[in-house]
């Protein structure tokens, strides 16, 4: 039974399905390291999925579509940063607004421009090609698992390692961590806190949108309403589960990807209804969060996200008022 489910094909599919989650999670981890709560990863991913396929259709090049998606995600990140830094907008409220806006407006554009309702595709759009890694693809099992993926899958691995190097081996990464841990310490030595926050928000937007592009032109060649379907939130969870360490976060993403792949596999080899099988990644996420919570009790306290519910604004305004 287990052998039926945990096949090499399922693991390979898990690696692919992990891609969007891992990309969002790396972006999320960068933000959390800088002390910025980015709960807009879901919307950023969705905007990437939408932009990628539309741009691929208009330009005729899937790669240009992917680039456009990355730019769109970065733009959302920049808008997010602008309101946050300039108008001190509550990050969570703005994330909720951005997620809603993107979820609604992608469908709006789909209907306005293409007259499509639930989903849209066009035969002219080509899927991102898989690229075999010479040498690696001839190895048994390992070749099947790690080779012949499309460029976004490889990009997610590179992004994890690159984020690790930036955070822990460069000057700028050290500044990011300093801003996250003690903002005023960073400020007083002349580190530009707004620049750091702008950077992490834009980068996380690019990464999450790249994950979205994977969904619409890498994994499939279509766009459906709400295509990200909670993967951005799984990204947030994976960042926490991976202790905001980019390499661990990659594996946390893989954990959810494999849970997802098993769910897909279960649908084919068993008669369990799909909606029940899809519990799996969600349950996995809850388990991951509980583990993080338990470890938080063991002195990894920095991983706790501190969020405060919205306050009535009259009180906020007057808290310091005359």
């Amino acid at each position: 039974m287990i052998g039926d489910i945990l096949t090499v094909a399922v693991l390979r599919s898990g690696i692919r399905l992990a891609t969007p989650i891992a990309l969002a999670a790396i972006g999320g981890a960068l933000c959390f390291r800088a002390g910025v709560l980015n709960f807009a990863l879901e919307g950023m991913m969705l905007v990437g999925a939408f932009t990628a396929i539309v741009a691929a259709f208009w330009t005729g090049s899937t790669y240009l579509g992917v680039l456009a998606a990355v730019a769109a995600g970065g733009l959302i990140g920049a808008i997010f940063a602008f309101f946050y830094l300039r108008y001190r907008v509550d990050l969570i409220i703005m994330a909720l607004a951005i997620n809603l806006f993107i979820a609604e407006m992608t469908v709006y554009f789909l209907r306005t421009f293409f007259g499509a309702f639930g989903s849209w595709s066009d035969p002219s759009i080509r899927q991102l090609p898989d690229i075999a890694i010479p040498g690696l693809d001839r190895l048994p099992i390992l070749g099947t698992l790690l080779s012949s993926h499309n460029i976004i899958v490889y990009a997610s691995w590179i992004a994890g390692v690159a984020a690790y190097i930036v955070l822990f081996r460069t000057k700028f990464g050290r500044h990011i961590r300093a801003v996250g841990e003690n903002q005023s310490a960073a400020e007083t030595v002349g580190i530009s806190v707004p620049a750091v926050k702008l950077f992490v928000l834009v980068t996380s937007g690019c990464l999450a949108a790249l994950g979205g592009a994977f969904l619409s032109v890498g994994h499939l060649t279509l766009f459906t309403r709400d295509m990200s379907n909670g993967r951005g939130w799984l990204g947030v969870t994976a960042a926490l589960f991976g202790l905001n360490h980019p390499v661990f976060v990659l594996f946390a993403g893989l954990f959810f990807g494999i849970a997802d792949a098993i769910a897909v596999r279960l649908q084919t080899v068993t008669t369990i209804p799909p909606s029940l099988v899809q519990f799996l990644p969600n349950i996995a996420a809850i388990v991951a969060l509980v583990l993080v919570g338990l470890s938080g009790r063991l002195r990894w306290g920095t991983l706790r996200l501190r969020t405060r519910p919205p306050q009535p604004m009259a009180e906020q305004v007057d808290a310091k008022g005359p």
Partner: protein
């Protein structure tokens, strides 16, 4: 009596002159007419303040809490934008909008709350923002070498690889000083540097400050402890309520005069009070152990008792277990061992509300986040410890008239200025906020008051009010446990003094005969035998 500001540089700048014809070396810092108003708190923090510091001197800037010292220095360091005024550094007029610009001018600031990243190493903190790199990557070896170089240049030893979060406060302070020196600071601002140090550590710091002055650095030293000023400074400037009162060479003044300048009248070094008439024990703490974190004790095997009608003072340097002790007694933190009794009944495991119902009152260390809820009205603030009483809650509903009259009583009895019961409490000033806390805690006729740093951040008038309130309570037969890092306060109020060091009581002194020196030795972990 006005500061000897000569206005050399600024005067010449205004004239368009090159400023080459003045006598003597240029002043390190000259500030003229600095004015800063904070609209949010309606405080005029600096009112046309003039301030001048000569190069190579140790200049003390003294004043009470809220006198405007820190604001003035924040203006100099580019953290606060003044509404008016001019600044010259090394004889050149400058505008400082950002700490970056201050650093470039050779100004460094060691803040009261250290600006350190706890998970970073000493070297990483010292070099933050100016890390040496190799092929674009951070280079550990080069960092260590740089820190070692600083160490030997200034004679301030540190371990470059130690995590800052694991270091004691005095070493963290040293890291902060090295951080400014690494940035070539020639003018160092130290904001209340001794507040977190034992007297012995403070002595060590004075040595460091003298060493810096010997090496030609200028040190501005903010404090409100006048004895320190006389000991280490060359000149002293005194501020009061946003105004500069005067600047004097240390040789021409004394503590008494400085105190008068600071407060505006002769200080009462002792609050007048009758001898205590202690009664039966009210609060008994037996072999109490309290953990800071799982398995790490902050208070160990501590015993004390407070009788009705006496004030027992706990002296000690901040961070020696005071907070944990108070939290354990008041029920905010579990005791890991030992017992606590109130009026003979064990309360060790009782919840906060039950202890309060049995007559315990608590004046917390942090009145803004613990003592008060600034998001709501005065009414809802005064009832928080008593809302369970039947007069305030009936059938699960709040009895608003009764709560209102309680609020009115507090306002009247404790003369809380400008307050009305239904108003949001955030409009009140610091002193009035503390009066609300006092009023609430004393309203229920407590048998025992735990007061933790009850005058922190208050102005003189409010401090006197708090002191008088505690003495009155004592005279009515209330047992008072006073925890304070201000030795003066302990000496003025307490009938008996216990010294807390690393979570243990290391000495007990009769307040009438205790000398500050003795207390200092005990607070630093010494014993009286070795001292004598």
């Amino acid at each position: 009596m006005h500061a000897p500001i000569d206005g050399r540089a600024l005067h010449h700048a205004a004239q368009g002159s090159t400023g080459a014809d003045h006598s003597g070396p240029p002043l390190a810092v000259e500030m003229i007419g600095i004015t800063k108003y904070f609209p949010s708190s309606e405080v005029l923090a600096n009112d046309r303040v003039d301030f001048a510091v000569e190069a190579g001197e140790v200049h003390a800037l003294v004043g009470e809490n809220g006198a405007g010292k820190t604001t003035l220095m924040n203006v100099l360091f580019g953290l606060v934008a003044p509404d008016a005024g001019a600044i010259a550094v090394d004889g050149r007029p400058v505008r400082i909008h950002h700490p970056d610009e201050a650093i470039r001018l050779g100004i460094g600031m060691v803040h009261q709350h250290f600006k350190l990243v706890p998970s970073f190493t000493v070297a990483e903190n010292i070099l933050l923002g100016m890390e040496p790199t190799r092929y674009g990557f951070t280079a550990r070896a080069a960092e260590t070498a740089r820190v070692r170089g600083l160490e030997s240049e200034f004679g301030l030893p540190v371990d470059p690889a130690a995590r800052v979060g694991d270091l004691p406060v005095s070493l963290q302070q040293r890291v902060e000083i090295l951080k400014t020196l690494q940035r070539d600071a020639r003018i160092l601002i130290l904001d209340e540097p001794t507040a977190v140090l034992t007297p012995q550590e403070a002595q060590e710091l004075f040595g460091v400050i003298r060493g810096l002055a010997d090496r030609g650095r200028t040190v501005i030293f903010i404090t409100h402890k006048l004895l320190e000023v006389v000991e280490v400074a060359h000149r002293v400037s005194v501020m009061r309520r946003g105004r500069m009162i005067g600047t004097k060479p240390i040789a021409d003044t004394n503590v008494r005069e400085l105190a008068r300048m600071m407060i505006g009248r002769e200080v009462l070094f002792r609050v007048s009070k009758l001898p205590a008439q202690p009664g039966d024990p009210v609060l008994e703490v037996d072999r109490l152990t309290v953990n800071r974190q799982e398995g790490i004790p902050a208070v160990s095997d501590l015993s004390l008792r407070v009788r009705a009608g006496e004030i027992v003072g706990i002296a000690g340097v901040s961070g020696n277990g005071q907070s944990e002790l108070v939290e354990a007694i008041t029920g905010l933190r579990p005791a890991a061992g030992g017992t606590i009794r109130l009026l003979g009944r064990p309360i060790t495991r009782l919840p906060v509300w039950d202890r309060r119902a049995r007559g315990m009152a608590h004046i917390p260390e942090d009145r803004l986040t613990m003592g008060l809820n600034l998001h709501t009205t005065l009414d809802e603030n005064v009832v928080v410890s008593r809302y369970r009483e039947p007069q305030f809650a009936h059938l699960g509903l709040l009895v608003r008239e009764k709560i209102r009259s309680l609020a009115e009583w507090v306002i009247r009895q404790f003369s809380v200025a400008a307050a009305r019961p239904g108003e949001d409490i955030a409009t009140l000033s610091g002193g009035n906020l503390q009066k609300v806390v006092l009023g609430r805690e004393l309203s229920g006729e407590p048998r025992c008051i735990i007061a933790n740093q009850p005058t922190r951040g208050l102005d003189v008038g409010s401090i006197e009010f708090v002191h008088q309130t505690l003495i009155d309570a004592r005279d009515r037969g209330v047992a008072v446990l006073l925890v304070s890092v201000e030795l003066d306060e302990i000496l003025a109020l307490a009938d008996r003094i216990l010294v807390l060091f690393r979570g243990r009581i290391v000495g007990e002194l009769d307040a009438a005969r205790a000398a500050e020196e003795e207390l200092g030795i005990l607070m630093a972990g010494g014993t009286l035998e070795t001292a004598s």
